[in-house]
Symmetry: none
Amino acid sequence: MNLDTLYSELTLKTNAKLVLLVLDGVGDVATREQGYLTPLEAAATPNLDALAKDSAQGRMIPVAPGITPGSGPGHLGLFGYDPLEFQVGRGVIEALGLGLELRAGDVAARANFCSLDAKGIVTDRRAGRIDTAVCEELVALLSQKIKKVGDAEVIIKAGKGHRFVVVFRGKGLEGPLSDADPHREGLPVPQAAPVNPKSVKAKKAAKLVAGFYQAALPLLAQKKPANGFLMRGIAHQPEIPLFQDRYGLRPACIAVYPMYKGLAQLVGMTKLEGPQTIAQQFERYLAERANYDFFFIHFKYTDMYGEDGNFAAKRKAIEEVDAALPILLRQKPDVLVITGDHSTPCVMKGHSWHPQPVMLHSAFSGSDKLERFTDTGANAGSLGVFPAKYLIRLMQANARMLDKFGA
Amino acid sequence: MNLDTLYSELTLKTNAKLVLLVLDGVGDVATREQGYLTPLEAAATPNLDALAKDSAQGRMIPVAPGITPGSGPGHLGLFGYDPLEFQVGRGVIEALGLGLELRAGDVAARANFCSLDAKGIVTDRRAGRIDTAVCEELVALLSQKIKKVGDAEVIIKAGKGHRFVVVFRGKGLEGPLSDADPHREGLPVPQAAPVNPKSVKAKKAAKLVAGFYQAALPLLAQKKPANGFLMRGIAHQPEIPLFQDRYGLRPACIAVYPMYKGLAQLVGMTKLEGPQTIAQQFERYLAERANYDFFFIHFKYTDMYGEDGNFAAKRKAIEEVDAALPILLRQKPDVLVITGDHSTPCVMKGHSWHPQPVMLHSAFSGSDKLERFTDTGANAGSLGVFPAKYLIRLMQANARMLDKFGA
């Protein structure tokens, strides 16, 4: 029997409230330089400590051993979707990151303005890194002049600097396509082509991209230095089973950054907009508690400071969450998980493959007799080291939402 | 998406040097009789201890829970090849163990001399355990008289006592074949037959075995007590993807015993011959450091003394490695792993299924805050208990050879 089928069959309806609090990139490694302490270990976290006493802990492998996930695979894994099975292209992630609401089948591309010479050779892949304001002007021009290509709607949105995204919304489209980008200067812009040459839908998508170039390049011809553009990571939004159908839980997302709202939306979570601080996010949970069963609360700054290699700031970000935690606990969820989507060790200044620590608290989690929630401590937890895709099933079990299997 | 494909796509070229130091069978169990200490725990290992402080630890499952591997599956797993997918027949292992250089498609058999009565009934399956010298004489006779069977080259090599191996090198051959061995006295020697009766290549191999018997038996007819022979584990050398293609690393093997050189050669490692002691092996690594990216260094004696049930000697063998370790560390690899291919508990006097401890040291391994490298201590490590086949992927990650997956 298929395991997902079994989980579905065993899923019961309850009134339980589940909260998944993601401290992005919270996982770290202990190094000599930092006195063998991770940011979680160095931080003063009285509220997390108090929870730890009555929680189970462990560590999670985001995708597979040694694989460093981007935010897309990291969050899909957390949401219980195998990141190898459900791949989300870079264009889609980028579009979600800019707050575009994609639909299944939309084909999205990361794009950026570039400089071309008279023969169409790329002379500067970033058009001298034009200002965001210039990019916005050019995108406004393109948006105004190009509403459709063939029978597909075209949506263009400016990003930061020279970057923008293009979304094609039409029937019978799919990615991935090869990049319309020579990846270095001195070459012309190649045509985007289907990665799978047998895909009729990808052929149609490639035609739309070519059509978009045909319509857009004349509009930019007199612009300097941004008289051309490149497109990469051209992919479609995949069909992903809805979170609610999969788990029998009405899900809501309380995130600040568009990328994470987008990833939540991808699996059908409702975005609760407004909150800017973690305290406000917890307040929002209290306010919306009756309307949803599952809350995904996303905190970005642990990852951001990890990427900066700023240990002190990462530690302080953790302390900020800890200080706000009593707000969330005013109406304690039946199941509360605190974890990351991956590790972002300060020493690496980037995402990594190291399993992130996870703490699960419920009336049935039991205690691992750990006094704190830390990376190293979690090694000794009862959850062991396990693939992130099982996390929500464990949350369901702790919510008594999973019936007994067999007699 | 297939996980191996993903790993391949993410693999980057770097200048990192990786070392896999295998203390064969190092894993053990703590028992009352030995004061609840394993050999690793009882040994004085100041150099391993110093490394432990800045390393990650865990335990590895060689094949699957409860499966005790031979050296073949044990090492294939370590090298990152699923031992269930890539099976190497006993004949091949035996031939490799005798130092024969096999090619893909060669069919190899373990063989041993036996005694037959006038009717061809096996009266002694080991021919009274003849001396190695006698075996070598008989093999020399057979080798001299039988160069080919059909269109296939025949290679015969003597082992210890009554044992030898036979290799058929020709076109269009494959195993496995059933044994030409009744497995007890009082029966005739059965013909080897294809395990898969539909395999044309195996039928051809079976014909060669029959032809070999036809040519060899008359040569032995007057010999006493070794007037016959049995053949077992008749299999071909499988096609195994090359280590270098799989990992993008130029691999070298520094081993003393032929079996391990053979297993390394099976995946395309270069054998660096000469060193006899572990200190010499480490010196050889220093000398060859510029020429390879990955070094497999094999130390046999931990397994040998485990098989003898000799706790004190196993402990001493570990201390010998520890004492030599500073040589290796003169030019510290970017990633250093110390582990076994399996456990060989003294109390079992043989290989076992107990997950072997593993220690991984790199600039990004982090510290598990363990003061020593031991079986029990490794239980608390951040690597958890994981299948051995992922080890090299973790080494690649620590060498920053695996790019980020997804945006």
